[in-house]
Amino acid sequence: MNETINEKVSVILIYNQETGLVMPKKIRWRNRDYLIKSLAYYHRIRQGKNIIHIFNVTDGSLDFRLSLDSESLHWTLEEIYDQSAD
């Protein structure tokens, strides 16, 4: 089941200069840490001149849709998908 969250979250991001990979590695949401296992999809959305970076990631049991506002550099957890709730 998916749930819309739209809350600010803390994020640790990694960048690999060899492969060019940019990926959130760990997020802290509601005082709980989630270790990200893989990046499922990355894309960008234009909001006028502003660019929002969307990272769809998973920790193995939950899927997260995270957004990074390139103007404010704030991270938002937009949505989670919880398989166990299906």
């Binding site: 999809y41 894309h43 960008r44 006028g48 969307i54 899927d63 849709r65 998908y81 398989q83 299906d86």
Partner: protein, 407 residues
């Protein structure tokens, strides 16, 4: 016309079609949806129309065009998701970029399919099967491991699309003069692109019961008896692998429609929706740098009756305000006020702005046009619907972004 042989030229067209695009892309972004029956629906409510079932949902018998409740009857655990137009557009732009690495001539057919025309770079050593396999691998590697596509290779667009539909999902097929008859003998008439059940009936009446019969029919018979027009000649060529579909049709209209989530006959509510539709239509009209001198309004009522009216106007309009004013005039011509379930607006008789005739009396049209252009610039910079006409206040999520079928 004497009997024409099959086109013996080497195939140079590649049709690439993403499998269950909307659903597969969603499964790519949300790994826990993978290997599950997922459908992407216009609305998640029971009457919502299914736009794209996942490969797993298709295997259960869920089809595009079904209603959500029908899918739930087939599979109660089916997962229903909304469309994510930005995500699908991103996948589209990524696969178009991959295609551009292979040929300068790419013909987009819809959001999830395109044709790569290799004729500008085709040589004796070009092997489209190897290139097709490489494209499939690159899509998996560069876009997402869950995204698969069908590839069809042939001498014309019609056969390339047919080849791409032979082995679904994740197929790669080539049709040429060697296997054409074999392919025709293994499919039904309705498997041919452009032949629906009504066309099939017309062919059956004339003794054509299979694609092979269709292929073997003489040109005169197709043109004079079956189709009674030049269409018969086109089919004769198309079925033999000759290209007849490589024309570009110019855009003749811009239109928007909206199926109301909550049916209503409240005039103020309907005016708001019409204004938003006019704003979206006007944005596209202005982006094309054209003016319209014809407008159309169609209304589907809750009792499934339909009313529509179009009008040619004696001036060229451009601004949202003018489009809205003209549409509202049509709106008041309805013979009866009934609860509305769907509204569609469109504008036609398009002309370039340098063809404009100057008005004898200035009614402020130019000022309206400049205001619309200025608002467009603001919305381009700060995001869609940042500044809107007052009629559209408090309706940000009504008439949501959609991806159109076709080009």
């Amino acid at each position: 016309m004497t009997n024409l042989p099959i086109n013996h030229n080497p195939p140079h067209l590649m049709h690439v079609d993403l499998n269950s695009c909307f659903a597969t892309v969603e499964q790519q972004a949300y790994p826990h949806l993978r290997e599950k029956p997922v459908v992407i629906a216009a609305y998640k409510t029971d009457r919502g129309c299914i736009l794209s079932p996942s490969i797993e949902a298709k295997k259960l018998g869920i089809k595009t065009g079904m209603r959500v409740f029908e899918a739930k009857q087939i599979c109660p655990s089916v997962i229903i998701r909304d469309t994510d137009p930005e995500l699908v557009r991103d996948v589209n732009s990524k696969f178009m970029k991959i295609f551009q690495d292979y040929s300068p001539k790419i013909i987009p057919k819809s959001i999830d399919e395109a044709i790569i025309d290799f004729s500008p770079i085709f040589t004796k050593t070009t092997n489209l099967i190897i290139i097709g396999k490489e494209i499939k691998n690159r899509i998996r590697k560069e876009i997402g491991e869950w995204i698969s596509c069908n590839v069809g290779i042939a001498t014309n667009r019609f056969l390339a699309k047919l080849a791409a539909s032979i082995h679904k999902p994740d197929g790669l097929d080539l049709i040429d003069y060697k296997n054409l008859k074999q392919v025709y003998s293994s499919i039904k008439l309705t498997d041919l692109n452009g032949i629906n059940t009504r066309f099939e009936l017309r062919l059956n009446v004339n003794g054509i019961n299979s694609p092979l019969d269709f292929f073997q029919a003489e040109e005169n018979f197709l043109r004079k008896i079956v189709f009674k027009s030049i269409i018969g000649h086109y089919w004769y060529l198309r079925l033999r692998g000759f290209e007849v579909d490589n024309f570009e049709s110019a855009r003749k209209s811009f239109g928007q429609d909206y199926a109301l989530a909550k049916k209503t006959k409240d005039l103020e509510e309907l005016k708001k929706i019409i204004m938003k539709l006019c704003e979206k239509m006007g944005r596209r009209l202005r982006q094309s740098n054209q003016f319209a001198s014809g407008i159309h309004l169609g209304i589907l009522y809750h009792d499934y009756s339909f009313w529509h009216k179009s009008k040619k106007i004696n001036k060229s309009i451009f601004s949202t305000k003018n489009l809205f004013e003209e549409i509202i005039k049509l709106f008041y011509l309805q013979p009866q006020i009934k609860t509305v379930s769907k509204i569609s607006v469109s504008c036609f008789s398009l002309n370039q702005n340098n063809n404009l005739q100057l008005a004898l009396i200035d009614l402020g049209e130019e000022k309206n046009n400049k205001i619309s252009s200025a608002l467009d610039k603001i919305n381009n910079r700060f995001g869609e619907f940042t500044m809107v006409p007052a009629t559209m206040m408090n309706m940000k999520d009504t008439v949501i972004d959609r991806i159109a079928f076709g080009r």
